[in-house]
Amino acid sequence: MKKTLLSLAAAAAVMSFGTMAAEAKVKACFIYVGPIGDFGWSYQHHQGALEAQKQLGEDNVELAYLESVPEGADAERALERFARSGCNIIFTTSFGYMDATNKVAGKFPDVKFEHATGYKREHPNVSTYNSKFHEGRYVQGVIAAKMSKAGVAGYIASFPIPEVVLGINAFMLGAQSVNPDFKLKVVWANTWFDPGKEADAAKALIDQGADIITQHTDSTAAMQVAAERGVKAFGQASDMIKFGPDTQLTSIVDNWGPYYAKRIKAVMDGNWEQSDVWGGMADGHVVMAPYTNMPDDVKKAAEDTQAKITGGFSPFTGPINKQDGTEWLKAGEVADNGVLLGLNFYVKGVDDKLPQ
């Protein structure tokens, strides 16, 4: 069914565009912070780019990309080069490109810019987009609380930015919805990508009694350690089942393809407009890898939770108390997006002191 829809969409794209395709090929350009071979964040963005191109047809869309572009002075140069080399739409796929994106966008008003995970839109040709990965983490929390015998999960975190804090809180809330006494231990690896360090962090967490490992870092090392030590784990960014066939419970898969296709299509059709999109499960931005290595009742609970979120439920629905016990959200109150995007405190029950 999904396939038919896709090919229909592709066919529609080709038809609506058809004759003028040859002269008006859209050039979509992507700038990645890591190597596309990281099998994590940049890899998934690149997969999304390829999927969008496939969907809209190679005759209509030309791709160009730059990988491992540092987020300092180099980003501005890379973007300017893109803009001058005839890109019609440029996706800047890391938070650190925010200022460079807005600066270059000011110089090239005819080029559309799409910045991932940022909040500045200083010119009408800049849009921002992001995904509600925390919805997936809430589901993971539910699974963790059901699967854990010790009632303790270990969380390998990268850097204390709102996105990561949001994920930790969502995981905790999901777990508490099953087991109010659930414990969560957090280790800050201070890296997005260092397999050795991530493996060490996973070992430390397991040694301290965690029997479920989840991560907000990009390598597959923690999954392998969990497999070796015989505990369960969640994947990150992409489906990591290959690295833990008997270990992975599920994985949050960053699915950028549909959004990229939609935005590139808008440029083709000449109706691109500035927007700020924060897509979640309901929009297909966040996809859960198959629920594996768990009994049927847990799988059922996971699927029910997923359905609930897709139906509009926010994991951040009160009553929720902050870590120090003070009230954050009253019963039934839903946190607004602005607060969530700048979140810098834990909810009650997280066993860690948030680095400030």
Partner: protein, 306 residues
């Protein structure tokens, strides 16, 4: 498995690659050559080790591949510094750069593939003994290699004639040459031994530690190995102590975090580096100790007179 035992095992795994690479560099420096390219040789060993293990299905061949490529790659350094007498510091840095770039190119098709792990030793009964079983009889084979290597190098350097020759080359290459010793030949062998060790250490990372290939996966461990050699004042058993101390600090800071103590993680992460500086100072302050152990010709080029 008890918590303490588990922590000790983790420390051993973290220390092993540092120990192997540092022991190799120790021999190189004892012969009077400073090779700053450890990181580059390690990463070449890592990509080869992973690739060979993946393609042949044998992790042992992977380790061997890492050793061979590490040694070959170090020959490049040897040719420049020993035959063409180039500056050793700059050449070592070039080797690191080249290694990081080349390994990234060679490894592009390995990304995202699960590797094959070298299985741990398992001796029935012994490996299952409480507490000591896993530590003494149940680790990965390369752990034992690293200990044997330390013992072997310590014995070689201080109890054999060949070891004495190597040290004399490092202490005073001019008089060693006058005695009819082939200075350049011995230094070539030492450099290749260092390369082989670095290659093995790299392969350990990609085949045992975290069986996968990613760019830059050595993440600065080659530099730590270099620091360990000086930290140990060029004594093999002290290298072992240093590597385990470093491993313990690294793992300890993760445990301190998991306990929720709330110390800034950046401070904890910088402790190993600060500790190295402090120990370097303490060691070099002791003039007698430094004089006895430092290879006097370290880093000096040698051109035989004719």
């Amino acid at each position: 498995m008890g918590v303490i035992e588990a922590i000790l095992l983790t420390i051993a795994t973290a220390a092993t690659p540092l120990l192997i690479a540092a022991i190799g560099e120790l021999v190189v420096e004892r012969s009077g050559v400073l090779n700053l390219g450890v990181e580059g040789m390690m990463i070449m060993g890592a990509v080869t080790g992973f690739g060979v293990a993946l393609l042949t299905g044998s992790p042992w061949l992977g380790m061997l591949g890492g050793i061979v490529v590490g040694a070959l790659f170090s020959l490049l350094f040897g040719f420049l510094t020993l035959t063409l007498v180039t500056n050793q510091v700059a050449t070592g840095l070039a080797l690191t750069l080249l290694g990081l770039g080349l390994s990234g190119m060679l490894g592009e098709s390995f990304v995202g593939q699960p590797g094959i792990r070298l299985p741990n030793l398992h001796i029935p009964v012994l490996s299952d003994l409480p507490f000591v079983g896993g530590l003494i009889f149940g680790q990965d084979p390369i752990f034992y290699v690293s200990i044997a290597l330390t013992a072997g190098v310590a014995w070689f350097l201080f109890y054999t004639h060949a070891g004495l020759t190597l040290r004399s080359v490092g202490d005073n290459h001019a008089s060693a040459h006058a005695l009819g010793i082939n200075v350049i030949g011995i230094r070539y062998l030492a450099v290749m031994f260092g390369g082989a060790c670095a290659g093995l250490a790299g392969a350990y990372l990609s085949v045992v530690y975290t069986p996968q290939w990613v760019e830059n996966m050595t993440a600065g461990r080659g530099w730590i190995a270099l620091a360990l050699v000086v930290f140990a004042s060029w004594r093999p058993w002290r290298v072992l102590a240093g590597a385990y101390l470093f491993g313990a600090v690294t793992i300890g800071q993760l445990h301190a975090q998991a306990l929720g103590l709330g110390i800034p993680s950046q401070l904890l992460s910088s402790l190993p580096y600060l500790a190295t500086v402090v120990v370097l100072v303490l060691i070099s302050q002791n003039k007698r100790l430094t004089m006895v152990n430092t290879p006097a010709s370290l880093g000096r080029p040698f051109v035989p007179d004719r």
